[in-house]
Symmetry: C2
Subunit: 176 residues, 2 copies
DNA sequence: GAACACATGTAAGAAGTTACATGATTAT
DNA sequence: ATAATCATGTAACTTCTTACATGTGTTC
C-alpha cells in the first residue's frame, strides 16, 4: 500500500491533518499494518491537493503553523476505489519475525527461544491493544479488521507457546 | 528484512546462485513472507563478496554465463546473527488486504465481498502450498515456520468464512 | 519457430526514510 | 530547564523495482 492510497483511505474515514495521519499510522489502530513518516505524508498531501484528490482547509492557530485539515473529494474517492480494487495480487506476509526464525537455526540455538519469547510478548501487547480498540464504537468494517487481526495474533500466540519446546528442547534431565 | 540479510539467511541454509535465490523468494517457501528482484539480489551478492561475507565459486558451463555459487563465510554468519538479533522492533503486519478492507466501507459495499472472497481463495492456495512443503523433509525451524504460517492462514480463513455475512448481509428474504 | 527456463548483470527511476529546520506550549 | 507534544515542511540519502541487455538450451 503506497502512501497516497493510505492517506486517501484514512481521509475516507474522516478529515484529518498530516500530523494526525502520522499519529494514526504509528500509534493508532493503523499501526497494526502500516507505517509512514512525515517525509512521505506531507508531500503526498500537497501533491494530492494539487491533483484535486483532497481538499485543504486552513485553521489559523496562535504560535503554531496553520493547521491544514484535509478531506476527501469526489475525485479522491474515485482514486481510492481504483487503488483498492486494482489487481490485488498475493499480499505476502512480509514478516521479519518469520524470516528471522527461519534463519535462526543456523545462527545460534539460544536466540530462538529469546526471539519467540519476545514475539509472544508482542502478541500479548497487540492483543491488548486490539481489544482496547474494540471497546470504542467503530464501523462494521473497522471492527471486522480488528477482530481479524486479533484472531491471527491469538492463533500465532497459541502456536508459539505450544510448540516452543520443539525448537529449544530443555536438557533431558527428567525423562518420562 | 533487507536484501543482504535475506541472502545471508538463505545461504545459511546452503550454497546457492543468485538465480536460485531469486526462485526461492518468488516461488519457494520464502514467497510466503518475502520478495526480491534480480536488480537487488545480484548487486547485494557482489558487494557482500567484496566485503568478505560470502564466498563465490565459479562453475563453468557451456553456452551459459558461469554459474556463480555463493556460500556463507564466518564473517557472513556473524553479520547475519547481528542483523537478526539487532533490535527486532514491532514487526508490523504490513498487509494490503487488511488496509484495503478497512477502507473498503467508504468505497463500495459490493467490493468487500469480492475482496474477502479473493482472500479466502488465496488462503486456500497458500494452505495447500504450505502443506505441500511440509511433506519434504526440512529442518526443525523451517517446519516450525511453515506450520506457523499454516496456523495463521487457517485462522484467517476460518474467521473470514464465518464472519462474511456480517459485512455483506444478504437481503433478508427468508427470516428465521 | 515461439515461448520459456537458465544465468548474470546494469542503469534509470520510483518510493520512502532520516535528519534537518523552525518555533510555541505544556508537562516533569 | 529539559523534554515532549503540537505542527509543517525540505533535502539528501537509501533501497529497491522495472526495464533493458545478452545469449544458449529445451519444450510445445
Amino acid at each position: 500500500m503506497d502512501i497516497r492510497t493510505l492517506c486517501l483511505g484514512i481521509l475516507s474515514l474522516g478529515e484529518a491533518t498530516g500530523y494526525e495521519i502520522r499519529k494514526m499510522v504509528t500509534d493508532g489502530s493503523f499501526s497494526f499494518f502500516s507505517e509512514a513518516s512525515y517525509g512521505s505524508i506531507y508531500p503526498a498531501l500537497t501533491q494530492m491537493t494539487a491533483d484535486g484528490l483532497v481538499a485543504c482547509r486552513a485553521e489559523s492557530q496562535t504560535g503554531r503553523p496553520d493547521k491544514k485539515v484535509y478531506s476527501l473529494t469526489a475525485d479522491g474517492r474515485k482514486a481510492l476505489e481504483q487503488s483498492l480494487t486494482a489487481a490485488p495480487g498475493p499480499d505476502r506476509h512480509r514478516s521479519d519475525f518469520l524470516a528471522a526464525l527461519l534463519f535462526a537455526e543456523a545462527v545460534s540455538p539460544d536466540r530462538i527461544n529469546a526471539l519467540i519469547h519476545d514475539r509472544i510478548s508482542e502478541h500479548d501487547e497487540q492483543i491488548a491493544l486490539l481489544k482496547g480498540h474494540l471497546k470504542d464504537e467503530q464501523g462494521t468494517v473497522a471492527r471486522f479488521v480488528l477482530e481479524y487481526g486479533l484472531v491471527m495474533q491469538e492463533a500465532a500466540r497459541r502456536f508459539l507457546k505450544e510448540n516452543r519446546a520443539r525448537l529449544s528442547p530443555a536438557p533431558e534431565k527428567q525423562t518420562g
